[in-house]
């Protein structure tokens, strides 16, 4: 019948048979069929109505069509309400199938066909429970195979939609317990049907003995095999945990090998040069620290003040073997003025490293509000700006001039207690 066309065909053409719940009266079966067959849905509704009144067959056919013809996905993405509706779908369909079958069987009995209560009630229960289990299990594989998020495009949805309404969205969004409990209800319904049937047919007494025997055997087997099963389960989970651990260990080992062990080898080679060794150790420390903190690689994404200063400090440190410590309070993305600030700060660090006589350089950056401020301080002998020859472009051009061109300022102070401090300030443009 109708459903055969939709399901066993298997190939999902663009003009596939779909229910149209939006323009339909009940579930959109007639509207969808009408669209597919180019017939006025009202005609089909009359046919369904007439056959229902005559023998009940129309109602059964409608129910089956409702169950088996997938609903049309109208929008580009599956809407939230649709998902919610299709979640309830399984239970509604099961109830629907049960009632429909009940109605049909009662109708047949009225017509004088040989149906007794012995058959009607169990069949109804079996149909409802079966529908519940069946629906759950056909929806799941389709959804798993799809593996796509809820925002499935229309094309993807119709290309791989399983033969039941709601399609890929249903099982995907559902938590496991819900699925399991629904299957559980289905199983209970089917078992209840079997018991009712046996009860009515008088075979229950005999079946009880068999069931009891089976139960006893099952319990015996359970007792025998339980420890083994438990042990198997625990050893499986232990093995899994061990596998995860060893994977993590391998990852850490790989990183340590590429970084720390290499550095240690270098340290051994350069043991005669303490400054070089100290620089190597500091570089490794920086690298390890940023790895431990899970920081993103420096070159990824936009440049930010703290990271840019840290990079500059690292370069200076490597080039001149002088420790450069960066302390940053707050952080900000760098615009052009910010980049100029970092470049000037780098120049100041370079000066401090060159003329600071090997003493550590302290860099302090503060990004509060719109103001970016950087202090670069060394503990060297200090220098008198006025005494710096005019051709020394380093300070005048790369630091003071650069800051002025970008609307900032640079101040150079000789510190009491020795050393020099360069202060750089720029206002961030409001963007």
């Amino acid at each position: 019948m109708i459903s055969g066309m939709a399901t066993s065909g298997g190939v999902a053409a663009p003009r596939d048979l779909r229910r149209d719940p939006k323009s339909g009266m009940v579930a959109g079966v007639c509207a969808g069929l009408g669209k597919r067959l180019n017939v006025d849905p009202v005609l089909l509704r009359i046919v369904f109505g007439a056959t229902t009144l005559a023998s009940g067959i129309g109602l059964v056919a409608y129910g089956l069509a409702w169950l088996l013809i997938p609903a049309a996905q109208d929008a580009g993405a599956v809407s939230a309400t649709q998902v919610r509706r299709s979640r309830r779908g399984a239970v509604e369909v099961a109830l629907g199938v049960g009632f429909l079958l009940l109605a049909a069987l009662l109708a047949f009995r009225e017509l004088g066909l040989p149906f007794s209560d012995v058959l009607i009630w169990p069949l109804t229960l079996v149909a409802a429970g079966g529908a519940l289990i069946w629906r759950q299990s056909i929806v799941s594989p389709g959804a798993v195979a799809e593996g796509a998020p809820l925002a499935v495009s229309r094309a993807a949805a119709s290309a791989s939609a399983p033969a039941s309404a709601g399609g890929p969205a249903v099982a995907e969004a559902e938590p496991r317990p819900v699925v399991i409990s629904r299957i559980g209800i289905g199983v209970v319904l089917v078992i209840a049907a079997a018991i009712v049937f046996l009860q009515f047919s008088g075979a229950l007494a005999a079946a009880t003995d068999v069931a009891l025997a089976a139960l006893v055997v099952a319990i015996a087997f359970g007792v025998i095999f339980a420890p083994w099963v438990v042990r198997l389960a625990t050893s499986l989970s232990a093995e899994r945990a061990e596998r995860i651990r060893s994977q993590e260990r391998a990852e850490v080992a790989a990183h340590l090998h590429d970084s720390v062990l290499q550095t240690l080898a270098l340290v051994q080679k350069r043991a005669s040069d303490p400054r070089e060794v100290a620089a190597l150790a500091r570089r490794q420390e920086r690298e390890l620290r940023s790895w431990l903190s899970g920081a993103a690689p420096r070159d990824a994404g936009e440049r930010r003040l703290a990271a840019a200063l840290e990079t500059a400090a690292e370069e200076i440190e490597q080039a001149h073997g002088v420790p450069v410590d960066v302390v940053a309070v707050g952080d900000a993305p760098l615009d052009r003025d910010g980049e100029a600030l970092v470049a000037a700060a780098r120049e100041a660090m370079l000066n401090a490293a060159k003329f600071g006589e090997g003493a550590a350089v302290a860099v302090y950056a503060e990004a509060v509000g719109a103001r970016l401020q950087v202090f670069v301080r060394d503990r060297g002998p200090g220098f008198d700006l006025a005494a710096v020859p005019a051709d020394r472009r380093g300070v005048r051009e790369s630091i003071i001039g650069r800051m002025q061109r970008h609307g900032g300022r640079a101040t150079i102070n000789a510190s009491p207690g020795g050393g020099t401090e360069v202060e750089l300030v720029v206002e961030r443009s409001a963007s």
Partner: protein
């Protein structure tokens, strides 16, 4: 203070303990060392040193655990703690300070500076390394004097002067240099730093803990 402060050293790395011992030799009086939390508690309870140099990271709970247990048992009321770590992680710094340590220095500190820090802690002052000062400024950065009406507001924000002092520490200035620059006495600088430490320990701002949590490892 009378004479050199008596110092106990708690660190799980033997090599590091030996290194610090030899560096501090003649500068302070290292009276004992311990390699784990349990030994440290026994040692400190028995020796009652003036200052404990405390490694933050140890396998069985670390410096935080040592301070907590000693504070809980009340057996080390006269003992000051100075945290010492390779880690600059903000959460470690804040946690150990809030537990009661008077300062925090990194293990790369020179022997002379370490001895100086020990003496300062022994004298009741706080020891802020530049990085710690940066952390604290960052932690209090969101606390503009907005909640002035609050009873705890005094604890929740830094005064302009305290900020200034911390900024100078972060910029690499020694206390004496800061005093010169700001035209105040070194004692006043120390008083400001101690006030900041007190706020750090007593403030109940959840911003503080949230801040530390966000920078899980600095």
């Amino acid at each position: 203070m009378s004479g050199a402060p008596r110092v106990a050293l708690v660190d799980d790395h033997e090599l590091f303990r030996a290194g610090v011992r030899s560096e501090l030799d003649g500068l302070v009086d290292v009276v004992g060392d311990a390699a784990n939390v349990a030994d440290a508690i026994a040692l400190i309870g028995e020796l009652q040193p003036d200052v404990v140099l405390l490694d933050v990271h140890m396998p069985d709970g670390g410096g935080l655990e040592v301070i907590r247990r000693l504070r809980a048992s009340g057996t080390a009321s006269g003992v000051q703690f100075l945290a010492l770590s390779v880690s600059d992680a903000a959460e470690d710094v804040i946690a150990v300070i809030r537990a009661g340590a008077r300062g925090y220095v990194t293990k790369t500190i020179s022997g002379a500076d370490l001895a100086d820090a020990v003496r300062r802690v022994h004298g009741g002052d706080a020891v802020f390394s530049p990085r710690l000062a940066g952390f604290v400024l960052d932690a209090f950065a969101g606390a503009a004097p907005a909640a002035v009406a609050d009873r705890d507001a005094e604890l929740d924000a830094l005064t302009p002067r305290e900020r200034e002092v911390l900024q100078h520490i972060a910029r690499g200035y020694m206390y004496k240099e800061i005093a010169l620059r700001l035209g105040i006495s070194a004692k006043t600088v120390e008083a400001h730093v101690s006030a900041v430490l007190r706020k750090l320990q007593l403030s109940s701002r959840h911003e503080l803990s949230r801040w530390a949590a966000e920078r899980r490892i600095g």
